[in-house]
Symmetry: C2
Subunit: 421 residues, 2 copies
């Protein structure tokens, strides 16, 4: 394919990215955007605010890649070296761009602040480079084309980087990549292990790898969620989308009803859509998950159209008083039991006048486990149409168990509301 960009590299500059506390997440965004444009990222580097290190990484990337994108290091301070180092490596002099200088000064004037002298550095542009306006900060980006290579220098803050990439960088790359595009689809699955999904999906997707156009398939696993990622590339976007759609249909059929979305939707959004279609409202009673199921549901914008709310009954007396769970039921079966889960679900459903009640009670650990009910034991009940109750034993630490439990509860709501075959 003419003009296709074969190798892209991303360089993240900033000493804070070499601490135990911060990680380069801009590259995830950039990789997604580049993939859409048919460009594959071959290498990512993270380098501190060190002139020699940065120069070496930039030099090596330029020797290998058709497209190099740097993030960070465009600020006004002495630590911000990207502009100078790239100019230096490419042997370009830096020149003051009067237009940029005026716009930086105007930005300070608007806020009634005198521009600090150090911000002058941000108006320096390597000879031959184009400055990319920054609508959300003082640091302009830079675009260079040198000896068949493209270089984009972008600011570190995501809210500055993203609009700059989309407005100024993406169109330039699209032009250079000669219409070559990559398209992805994601199949999301819950209630199955990675190896169960692999067993069902492998016979299908192994054929895709050698088909034309080839589809690359990857399995990713999280607590409570497995994903099949499909990607294919070419110039005819409609054809790519059609071939992906066919692949998604075949894989989803093979994996079965454990597939909850093929359009990128989260499990909570899928559940919300089903509720909203029926005009139904859900109420939630949570013990061990402590509000995180409600947190996931209300994380969906517009969720007030189908979530009434719920009760977090961490203490047993709250289960009795606020959810009408009979105290002797807890005494007889224990707070982590199917009868108590059912009573919690029925209680919250009645109290909140909801159409569907969901309840989770379990042992998230690290303490509280026993031989009969080890850490990870969770009882989940649905009240209302499709009422159900199940006991699970989830693996992992406290966070993983809580995540597994909320996904299993959402999936039980989904099953309860789905038309049965």
């Amino acid at each position: 394919v003419t003009g296709r960009i074969r190798r892209a590299e991303i360089i993240a500059a900033g000493s804070e990215l070499l601490t135990p506390h911060r990680i380069d997440t801009n590259s995830l965004y950039l990789t997604g955007q580049l993939n859409e444009l048919g460009v594959v990222v071959r290498l990512k580097s993270v380098v501190g605010d060190d002139r020699d290190d940065l120069a070496e990484v930039v030099r090596q990337a330029l020797a290998r890649a058709d497209l190099v994108i740097t993030t960070g290091g465009l600020g006004p301070t002495a630590d911000d070296l990207t502009r100078e180092v790239v100019a230096d490596v490419l042997g370009l002099s830096l020149e003051l761009d009067e237009g940029i200088f005026a716009s930086i000064r105007a930005r300070f004037d608007r806020r009634g602040v005198k521009m600090p002298e150090i911000n002058r550095r941000q108006a320096l542009v390597p000879r031959g480079a184009e400055a990319l306006p920054n609508a959300f900060g003082t640091a302009p980006g830079l675009w260079l084309e040198v000896a068949g290579r493209m270089v984009a220098l972008l600011p570190g803050p995501p809210r500055e980087l993203r609009p700059m990439f989309e407005t100024y960088v993406a169109p330039r790359i699209a032009q250079a990549s000669g219409g070559f595009r990559l398209r992805r689809r994601i199949i999301k699955i819950t209630g199955r292990s990675e190896s169960q999904v692999e067993e069902l999906a492998f016979p299908i997707y192994s054929q895709f790898a050698t088909a034309t156009p080839a589809i690359e398939t990857t399995i990713l696993a999280w607590p409570g969620q497995i994903e099949l990622h499909l990607a294919t590339s070419g110039t005819d976007v409609a054809a790519l989308e059609e071939v992906l759609e066919g692949a998604v249909v075949r894989l989803a059929a093979a994996v079965g009803p454990a597939v909850f979305s093929v359009d990128g939707s989260s499990l909570e959004a899928v559940v919300g859509r089903i509720l909203e279609e029926r005009g139904w409202f859900v109420a939630v009673a949570e013990s061990c998950t402590g509000g995180t199921l409600l947190g996931r549901l209300t994380d969906v914008p517009g969720s007030s159209a189908w979530v009434l709310g719920g009760v977090v009954a961490y203490a047993d007396e709250v289960k009795v008083r606020e959810l009408d769970v009979p105290a002797d039921l807890i005494a007889a079966h224990g707070a982590v039991s199917e009868p108590v889960a059912q009573a919690m679900a029925a209680g919250v459903c009645r109290r909140f006048a909801a159409d569907v009640g969901v309840a989770i009670t379990g042992i998230a650990g690290p303490g509280g486990g026993s031989v009969e009910k080890p850490v990870g034991t969770v009882a989940i009940a649905i009240a209302g149409p499709g009422a159900a109750v199940r006991t699970f034993t989830f693996p992992g630490d406290r966070e993983a168990i809580r995540r597994h439990a909320t996904s299993a509860a959402l999936d039980m709501v989904r099953s309860a509301l789905s038309p049965k075959p």
Copy 2:
């Protein structure tokens, strides 16, 4: 300092790390561990399962660094190239280690599974390398010392990598680094902006940079939380800890009561400790934060000793029915108002027989804002001793607003329960 390791680099191998969906997080753990050992990470690279790319990255790292740690690519499949590529770059032949081969086979035998032939590759060891046993998987790690350089090859899964690093790699690095150590402290702050903290802290910490031993200070900002990270290095660990303690005391005094922890504790854990010391219980009423405050509180292990639970009153009728908020109060002031927040806090406190009630009601967006009450408007109330109410306007998107709101609520509980000067 004799034997100090001056340059460490981390290479993460795996094509999944070059997608928009997965990021190398092992390097955060490794950086923390290396820092403890007085070793600073100078560069991180992420490379796909490509022989040439991996070889080039390994070669360049070995040319610069005293210590190179690779993660991933030690599995049994054709994609797993790290072992071969590193041996190749160093010019070392691969030899079958009979002991490792036997232990891999034994692992399969124990599970009653015949060892697949491909797993034989995992028993190949570059001549002169030491194999590092893997207690949690089949892939052994490798340790090499070649021409004054140390190289550790570690498996990608964190639960395999971490114990292997701590058991086999850390002691070897400690020996090589000649007793040189780095120590960190973190001061956590809420309710102040990054620039407010900078203004208060800069006059103090700017002196630390030129003191002996020098302390490096970094400010990190998240929605609702600012952190000052202090780090210093040397061989006398007791002296390092003493000098850091002095610096922490001075900075905490300068920043004032907005400092909520100097020992790494989260805000929710600090609030929990205060409640537990008094033998008090908290109950929570949430609207716009939809259970995420309860989620943060119950995320603390052992939180059942001080959290009773709460009500997520997403719908107005739930505020009335489950929290006894008078309907005409909502009609008069709107659901997002100080009187309604106070009524919610009082209601949940009384209903749950709690010592302290907390309530949050606000507009997290993206919809629902108005000129008088824009998106980000949040009213928070505390009921019980130290009762208080405040209205905030938080910046950012839905997620940031929800995070800001839960941090502000936790901080109001902390203030309500702290002895007044």
